[in-house]
């Protein structure tokens, strides 16, 4: 991690149990200014618990959670954060404009009303009541509330659930812009392409522990497998017997090989089939890496 940048949010050996269920088991996590950290993990991995500790909604049983070196429940720390929770339960009968005005009033130096509206893309629905909006519009309003205060760290719990593709890309663009402005962003998401598109760093949780941490490339590298695909007349059964071939699929004339040693496989393919075409080699995406890492942890 970049030692020159200041840590804005941190978990140190944080543990939290609900009755006998250990939701978090000694998690260390640090978020530095201006970085986008994606927290990934299957359901029940402890993502929401980790966020709740950083937000001061829960107290750790052991270890500590800090925001700007302070307790997350202190007013001065809270003045520097914004949050979009998974279930926001915003009152249906207030208008979008009223909600933004209310949330701006909480902060000493809020963003202007016009900026909030423009950044969150809610210009067309300012006068409408929250309860009359579509799911995607409601999500955009929740995002607007999270940025009302010009926060230095933003917690976004599954921010793009329910958004259509163009709204999602618009939100991604805004998130990148805020991060470039120096705002740290902690993002939990189901969508791996979201982490790939936004995250400087990825932290994978499974069963309450950090099982992998690093940038997207490092996480991907955790999975050595690559996919080799090509159009070839070679016999799939014969290729399956080659060393380092994990799996082979044939659909029509195209074959797809999963391997740990793509280079030697490609060399042998080209030697054995001069007519081979459409050769492609792909590294596993974050999705495959993620499945693999959480499988290892299970």
């Amino acid at each position: 991690m970049d030692a020159g940048k200041s840590i804005v949010a941190q978990l140190k050996g944080a543990a939290k149990s609900y009755g006998k269920v250990r939701a978090l088991d000694g998690v260390d996590l640090a978020v530095t200014a201006g970085e986008v950290l994606a927290v990934l993990g299957p359901n029940g991995a402890g993502k929401t618990t980790a966020i709740s500790l950083l937000l001061g909604l829960l107290k750790p049983d052991a270890g500590e959670a800090t925001l700007f070196g302070e307790s997350p429940t202190s007013l001065s720390a809270r003045r520097r954060i914004g949050a979009m929770l998974q279930t926001a339960g915003v009152p249906d009968t207030l208008t979008v404009g009223e909600l933004i005005t209310l949330f701006r009033s909480y902060y000493p130096d809020p963003r202007t009303f016009a900026d909030v509206v423009a950044l969150a893309g809610v210009d067309d629905i300012v006068k409408r009541r929250y309860g009359k909006l579509s799911g995607g519009q409601q999500r955009r309003v929740q995002f607007a509330l999270s940025i009302a205060g010009r926060a230095q760290i933003l917690f976004l719990d599954e921010p793009t659930t329910g958004l259509d593709i163009s709204a999602r890309e618009r939100l991604w663009k805004t998130i990148r812009m805020l991060a470039a402005d120096g705002c740290a962003i902690v993002l939990t998401t189901h969508y791996l392409e979201e982490a790939e598109a936004l995250a400087d760093r990825v932290c994978v949780l499974a069963k309450g522990k950090v099982v992998a941490e690093g940038n997207v490339q490092q996480i991907r590298a955790r999975v050595s497998q690559r996919r080799v695909s090509c159009i070839s007349s070679l016999d799939a059964g014969a290729i399956a017997a080659w060393p380092n071939v994990r799996n082979i699929d044939r659909s029509g004339e195209r074959i797809e090989i999963v391997t740990d040693a793509a280079e030697s496989i490609v060399r042998r393919l080209l030697n054995e089939d001069a007519a081979l075409s459409e050769l492609e080699v792909r590294r596993a995406g974050l999705a495959e890496a993620f499945v693999e890492i959480t499988k290892e942890a299970a």
Binding site: L55, G56, L57, L58, K59, L75, R78, R79, I81, A83, L85, Q86, T87, A88, G89, V90, P91, T93, L94, G97, E98, I100, T101, L102, F103, R104, S105, Y106, Y107, P108, D109, P110, T112, F113, A114, V117, A118, D123, V126, R129, L145, G149
Partner: protein
């Protein structure tokens, strides 16, 4: 987009008073725009007063005066119990409370806003009842008496907000209205808001000090000369003690849930 709304809070200092005021304003609007809540809350006390205090009463000024005092207290019960209790249970369950807890709000603004909402509703109901009492039932009071009774009705929000908070802290949103109803109407009846307790078996009179509405109705009757002033401190002490007990229980339940 109109930019008029941008000139609200000053940029440099987050003025706590503005937060309290906005919080209360939007809590009031939130509730007012929920017709299923606002309509019965605002209409029932005046309708009951119209029915029992005027139409079925045939010009008995004494009875009208008694019922005016009773319905003034009855008027604060619904906004405090339903608005606070059901609203709190719902916002706790749906996650709005969590988001509010994360926000840099001054301590207590959330609860105070809900109490201010209940008080404002009580005041509106009281004004309607007072106009009906004065111009339809011919109730004559000093200026001071009108204001004193109104103040007692508004003050009455405190114990019922505490009871509402207790219910909202424990109950889920769908069950909260049932729990509130279980308390609301029996308590109004057993406190003598609708008819003097002397018309009920003596047992109920002995039980009455348990209900904050009983103490409020005693104060209300003293304020408009139905009975002489006596034991004011004791009634106020009961009301505040009952509120404190409910508040303590609510805090305990909330702490357990976290």
């Amino acid at each position: 987009m109109n930019a008029i709304a941008t000139i609200s809070a000053p940029r440099t200092s987050s003025n706590s008073l503005i937060v309290y005021a906005l919080e209360a304003k939007y809590e009031f609007l939130r509730v007012l725009r929920t017709p299923a809540f606002a309509a019965p809350t605002l209409l029932f006390p005046p309708l009951f007063f119209l029915l029992f205090g005027l139409l079925m009463n045939h010009g008995n000024e004494g009875a009208a005066r008694y019922l005016f005092a009773g319905y003034s207290i009855f008027g604060v019960m619904a906004p405090a119990l339903f608005g606070f209790g059901v609203g709190f249970a719902m916002e706790r369950e749906r996650g709005w409370l969590s988001l509010k807890r994360v926000m840099p709000m001054p301590p207590g603004a959330y609860l105070l806003a809900k109490m201010a909402m209940a008080m404002l509703f009580a005041a509106i109901i009281y004004v309607v009842l007072a106009l009906m009492a004065r111009f339809l039932a011919g109730v004559r009071l000093d200026v001071g008496q009108w204001f004193l009774l109104g103040a007692i009705a508004v003050f009455g929000a405190i114990p019922f907000c505490a009871i509402g908070l207790m219910i909202g802290a424990k109950s889920n949103a769908s069950a909260a209205p049932a729990f509130v109803n279980l308390i609301y109407l029996p308590m109004a009846f057993l406190s003598g808001l609708w008819m003097p307790l002397t018309m009920l078996p003596a047992f109920f009179t002995q039980l009455a000090p348990l209900w904050p509405s009983y103490h409020l109705s005693q104060l209300a009757q003293m304020a408009i000369g139905i009975q002489p002033w006596s034991g004011v401190e004791i009634h106020i002490a009961w009301i505040l003690a009952e509120a404190a007990v409910c508040l303590a229980i609510a805090r305990r339940w909330m702490a357990k849930a976290a």
